[in-house]
């Protein structure tokens, strides 16, 4: 279970998070939606400790994240970064198997490579891709390699930052199914950021909308369409008119 309590974060005068409080139960798929630049990526980075919140508390299974032993703490997580963040000095398979070749989860090279190729297959990439370098891949392929890397060590908690952005509709469908599978079959807890409403419906148990630095609305995905919240309504229907200003 992930509990966020009153998280604040400002960059200079840009007050991005202004008291985010949110609970993600274990084994659930939470989808975070919200306008561009509202701080969704920053929120995930706060949980991982990549960005230090100015105030607030983050609890993972009741344990304070800021006091946890970093290595063991991070070993429970997988993260797909918005930009992929692949290591361009390493071939694709070593990117995917990065965690499997170092530290506590280290295993023989051949085995790590085999797992990497299997994970690549799950994100719809052929084994031939394994020996290419990230710079030789298209944007969507890089994204999927990033996804394969995030799930490679079978983490308990997985963050996906816009997993389907830049993918064709068929591949987006494959990825949505994959995320659903990971939650249902492996019992992982997932937090996914997406702008793609069909993706929200495909993968979410719960939805949270970030707006104005706080969680504007949260609830089960089934309640999303009759929430009565004007912000959420405007967002999910993509209307230019409404309480959310188009120029931010």
């Amino acid at each position: 279970m992930i509990e966020l309590r009153d998280i604040h974060k400002a960059f200079g005068r840009n007050h991005v998070l202004r008291g985010v409080t949110l609970t993600v139960p274990k084994g659930e798929s939470m989808v975070i939606i919200g306008g561009s630049g509202t701080g969704k990526s920053v929120l995930l980075k706060c949980i991982l400790g990549l960005v230090r919140p100015d105030a607030g508390q983050i609890l993972i299974e009741g344990e304070d994240a800021s006091r946890a032993e970093r290595e063991a703490f991070l070993a429970r997580f997988g993260m797909l970064f918005q930009g992929g963040a692949l290591f361009d000095s390493l071939p694709v398979w070593q990117n995917v198997a990065f965690r499997l070749m170092r530290g506590a989860t280290k295993r023989p090279k051949a085995e790590a490579r085999e797992i990497a190729i299997e994970k690549l297959r799950r994100v719809g990439l052929k084994p031939e891709v394994a020996d290419l370098f990230p710079a030789e891949l298209s944007g969507g392929m890089q994204k999927r390699v990033g996804l394969a890397r995030a799930i490679a060590a079978d983490p308990e908690i997985i963050f996906f930052d816009e997993p389907t952005t830049g993918l064709d509709p068929i591949m987006a469908g494959v990825i949505n199914e994959l995320i659903r599978e990971i939650v249902v079959e492996m019992g992982a807890t997932a937090m996914t950021i997406t702008h793609d409403m069909s993706s929200v419906r495909a993968i979410a148990d719960d939805v949270a909308m970030l707006h104005g630095g706080v969680i504007q609305w949260t609830g089960p995905v089934a309640d999303m369409d009759h929430s009565g919240d004007p912000y959420l309504d405007q967002f999910i229907h993509g209307r230019a008119e409404g309480p959310i200003e188009a120029v931010r």
Partner: protein, 260 residues
């Protein structure tokens, strides 16, 4: 503003400079701390030795041969009043080994290596690769900084040794081919006057320069601003800081080694 308040501007510049030195010192401390704690990434170290050392050989060799050649000419001009046959070989050898070999190699490596390290790590920073490393339970200090700093510390002395030899050879070429000095006597004089400490002090300087150059490259890369502009600024700062530090360290080490 600068015109209106020159003292204030100067004060700010000095304070800013001091703060930067302080941050670099903290980074140095973190690097040393990471060095003595496992894991050590041998592959990254080997790769860094290759990139920093081997790939720098041509440029270090070229600068050394021209430096040695020019030095021989200069000394001949100044020394011809005395005994050029003795003076040229000994001063070329001592000058290269103690001073010009390490300084020229240091400056060339500062330009080549601190920039490439800062650009590489800076790019990793702005494309979230550093964040990804951390998330994959890998400490960027141990994975990126330590291998590069150690590699530079052990390879720059080797570059200095190569540069010394090539520089002395450059002086020999000029001395024997265009100044008409006797080849056998030139070699004998070189060997007679050059002491072990002349060479080792230059190598120690090389190690110190290598350490500083890589440290500065990593520091500016890790603290790169956002976007391509941030990486560009980090690269520029790294080259400037590395060059200045090489020259400053050279002065300090020379004082320590030879003032006593």
């Amino acid at each position: 503003m600068i015109l209106l308040n020159p003292v204030g501007a100067l004060g700010r510049a000095v304070l800013g400079g001091l703060a930067a030195v302080g941050r670099l010192a903290l980074y140095l401390g973190a690097t040393l701390y990471a060095m003595v704690r496992p894991p050590f990434y041998f592959r990254e170290f080997g790769h860094a030795v290759w990139v920093i050392g081997y790939n720098s050989l041509p440029v270090v060799g070229l600068t050394a041969i021209f430096t040695g050649a020019a030095l021989a000419l200069q000394i001949y001009e100044g020394g011809s009043r005395f005994n050029a046959g003795q003076v040229v070989p000994s001063i070329v050898a001592i000058g290269m080994a103690r001073e010009l070999g390490p300084v020229m190699a240091g400056l060339m490596v500062a330009a080549r290596v601190s920039s490439s390290i800062a650009a590489e790590i800076g790019t990793m920073k702005v494309t979230e690769q550093i964040d990804a490393l951390v998330t994959l339970s890998t400490d960027p200090m141990r994975y990126l900084t330590v291998p590069r700093v150690l590699a530079a510390t052990v390879t720059v002395p080797v570059l200095v040794a190569v540069g010394d030899s090539i520089g002395i050879f450059g002086g020999y070429l000029v001395g024997t081919q265009s100044l008409g000095l006797n080849a056998a006597a030139y070699l004998r004089n070189t060997a007679d006057y050059l002491e072990i400490w002349d060479v080792t002090s230059g190598l120690v300087k090389g190690a110190a320069f290598g350490f500083l150059i890589a440290l500065v490259g990593c520091y500016f890369g890790m603290n790169s601003g956002r976007g391509a502009q941030g990486v560009g600024a980090a690269t520029k700062s790294a080259v400037v800081a590395a060059s200045v530090l090489v020259l400053a360290a050279n002065y300090i080490l020379t004082t320590l080694f030879f003032a006593a």
